[in-house]
Point group: C2
Chain length 353, copies 2
C-alpha cells in the first residue's frame, strides 16, 4: 500500500482470480467457463449495437429484461442486471449489511464473500461445512446476520434442496438471505420461485457459466420489488449505467437463442456424469456435482501434484491451497473431447508416466 | 427504503442521470454524447470478440492498454481501465478517502462527487465557485481533504490552466488530487503529464465523450504506479473483471482509428464555436466552453422555459433545478445540422413563436 491508501483498507486482501493465460495455450478448465462458442446469430446483434454506442446505454435494460422474462419467468420490478454477478453480490453487501448487520457464510464457498465483508468493514460469521462438505442449514437459523449461500456451492458442487432453503428463510424472517445461483442451470433447479413467497430472499445469477458470457459480464438479481428498490438506490449511487449496451444486446440475443444454450447445458451435464464415472475408475473420490465442474481427490496423489502434472501436459485446472481441501482439485467440464484428453492425461499421471 | 436496507443508507439520494428517451424520439442534446457513428472498422472487431466471450475477459486489458499508450502516451503500470469513468471515480473515493479523510469539491460540478461521498459516509467540504463560475484554486490549498475537480468543469465548461492545477498539487502534498478530465479532449489540453512530476495526482478520463463509447462504458485512470497499486487492490476487491471483453475489443479498435475521432473532435469544437456566436446574436450570455457543450442563459427567458419549449419542438437539452444556475441551460454540441435546427428553434422561441 502507498502513503495515500485509506488506512481502513491497509490489511485488505483482494480476491485472487483463477489464472487467465493467453487463449489457446492450455485446455483451460480452471475457471468454470462455458466450453462452446456462442449461437451464430449473437455476434451480428452485438455488432449492430456498436452503431449506437455513442448514446448512453438503456438504464432499464428493456429488451434484455423482456427476453429474460420469457426464459426465466421474472422481469419488470423483480429483476436487476449487473456487470457480472460479482457486482450483484457487492450491491447486496452494500444494501443489506452494515455496521449493525454482519454477514454469515460457509468456510468453503465463493472466496469473494469474505473479501466483500472485509472491504465493507463487516463482522463475519464463518460457518464450517460438515465433514462431507455439506452445508448445515440449521447453523444459519436466526443467526442475526445477512446470509450468503452459494447454491450449488463452489468449489464443492453440492446443493441444498428447496426445502432446506425454505428452512433457512423461515428462520431468518428479519434478515436477508442471498442465494448465489451461479451454477444453478447445471442442477436440479432454482429457488427463484420462492422470491414470490418470502420477502427476505434475494437470488443472484450469472450468464457466465451456462450462457457462455463470462467475458461479456452479465449478472442478475431476482427478488421482490421492495428489495429491488433498495438495491437500485445503491446501484444509482455507484454506476447507473453499470451494464453496457454491447452486453445488453448480446445477452438479449443469447436469450433469443435459448434452445441452443439448453442443448449445450444438457451436453455439459452428460459429459460431467461420464467424466465422473471415468474418474472413479481410476480411484478418484468425486463429490456428486450439480455444477459444470467436479471436485475430486485421488487416493494416492495430492491435489497440488495432480494440478501441476496436468499443467505440464497442457491442461489447466484449479487447486486451492487451503487446508481442508488441499487434497482436492476442481476440474471444469469442457467438451467431451477435452474431457477425454484430461482422462487420458490423468491415467498417465496415475500410471506414473 | 424497505425494512432490509442498511440504516446508514436510509437518507442516501442516488444520482439522477439525464433522461434517456427511446432513440430517434428527440434531437438528444442533454447528456453530452458524441454525435457521430463509430469508425466503420470498429463493429467488426467487436463482433470478433463475441466469439471468445465464453472466456473471462483479460484482467490486464493488454491490447487496449497497448493501443491506449500509442494514442495517449501512458500505459503499463500507470493506467487502469474501468466500467465507465464513474467506476474510476468510485474506486478513487474508496481508495483515497475514509473516516479520517474527507473530500473537497466545488458547489457546481459533476453531481456524482456528492453522491459518492454520501455513499461512503465521508465528510464533505463543498467550495463555491466564484460569481463567474470560476473555481478558485487557492480555496483548495492545504484543505486536508482528498480533492476532486472536474477540469473542464461541468456544467460550466470552464477549465483551470495547468499552472493552476500545479498550484493545487504543490499545496496538497499529503493529499490526493483527482482531476476528472471527462471533457478534456475538447479543450486546450490534459494535465496527465503532471502525473510524472507529482505523486499526489490522479487523472480520470472517459471514452464516452470524445470517442463515442458512452454506451459501451470505458473509463481510465492515469497515475503513478504506487497509486495504481492502491486502486487495483480496491478493484480486485470489488470486480476484477470490471471491463468486459466486448468493450476492451471495441476500445482497442476505436484507438486504432484515432484519426477519425480526432477529426470528429475538431468538427465538434468548430460547431461549438459557431453555435456560441449564433447564441450571442439572439441575446444569450454564453460561458466560453472548453467542452462538447455550452452553458448559457438568455436575457429574458428562464432556463426552465427554454428547456421546456425546446422539448415541445423535439429537442432535448439539460436544465438543472439548482438555485445558482436556474437561469442557465446546458446544450450538448451535436452535428452542424442538429445545431442549426436548435438555433432555428431558439429563434422561434425568442420571437414568441
Amino acid at each position: 500500500m502507498s502513503w495515500a491508501l485509506n488506512k481502513r483498507l491497509s490489511a485488505l486482501k483482494a480476491y485472487v482470480p483463477g489464472e487467465q493465460p493467453e487463449p489457446g495455450k492450455y485446455i483451460k478448465l480452471n475457471t468454470n467457463e462455458f466450453p462452446y462458442p456462442p449461437s451464430p446469430a449473437v455476434a451480428e446483434e452485438t455488432a449492430n449495437s456498436v452503431l449506437n454506442m455513442n448514446l448512453y446505454s438503456d438504464l432499464n435494460c428493456t429488451k434484455l429484461k423482456a427476453n429474460f422474462e420469457k426464459v426465466f419467468g421474472f422481469g419488470g420490478e423483480n429483476v436487476i442486471f449487473t456487470n457480472g454477478s460479482d457486482e450483484a453480490l457487492y450491491l447486496c453487501f452494500l444494501a443489506f449489511c452494515g455496521p449493525d448487520k454482519g454477514v454469515a457464510f460457509a468456510d468453503l464457498t465463493y472466496g469473494f464473500y469474505s473479501v466483500y465483508a472485509d472491504l465493507c468493514g463487516l463482522e463475519k460469521t464463518v460457518l464450517p461445512l460438515d465433514s462431507d462438505f455439506k452445508l448445515i442449514p440449521e447453523d444459519y437459523y436466526n443467526c442475526g446476520k445477512t446470509v450468503f449461500i452459494a447454491n450449488p456451492n463452489a468449489p464443492t458442487g453440492l446443493k441444498l434442496t428447496v426445502e432446506e432453503i425454505e428452512g433457512i428463510l423461515n428462520n431468518n424472517k428479519n434478515d436477508v438471505v442471498v442465494i448465489d445461483e451461479a451454477y444453478v442451470d447445471f442442477s436440479d433447479g432454482s429457488c427463484a420461485k420462492l422470491t414470490e413467497k418470502y420477502n427476505n430472499l434475494v437470488v443472484v445469477g450469472t450468464f457466465s457459466k451456462s450462457r457462455g458470457m463470462a467475458g461479456a459480464r452479465l449478472g442478475y438479481i431476482i427478488t421482490n420489488s421492495d428489495l429491488v428498490k433498495d438495491i437500485e438506490t445503491v446501484k444509482y449511487s455507484i454506476n447507473p449505467y453499470n451494464v453496457n449496451s454491447l452486453t445488453q444486446a448480446t445477452g438479449a440475443a443469447v436469450l433469443e437463442n435459448d434452445e441452443y444454450y439448453k442443448d449445450c447445458i444438457a451436453e455439459i451435464c452428460e459429459t460431467r456424469d461420464d467424466f465422473t464415472k471415468n474418474l472413479k475408475k481410476i480411484d478418484f473420490e468425486v463429490i456428486p456435482s450439480q455444477t459444470n465442474f467436479v471436485f475430486a481427490k485421488h487416493n494416492e496423489i495430492s491435489g497440488k501434484d495432480i494440478a501441476n502434472k496436468l499443467r505440464e501436459k497442457g491442461i489447466l485446472i484449479r487447486h486451492f491451497d487451503k487446508e481442508r481441501i488441499a487434497d482436492y482439485v476442481r476440474i471444469t467440464i469442457g467438451t467431451p473431447d477435452q474431457m477425454e484428453r484430461v482422462y487420458i492425461a490423468l491415467e498417465e499421471i496415475i500410471g506414473g508416466k
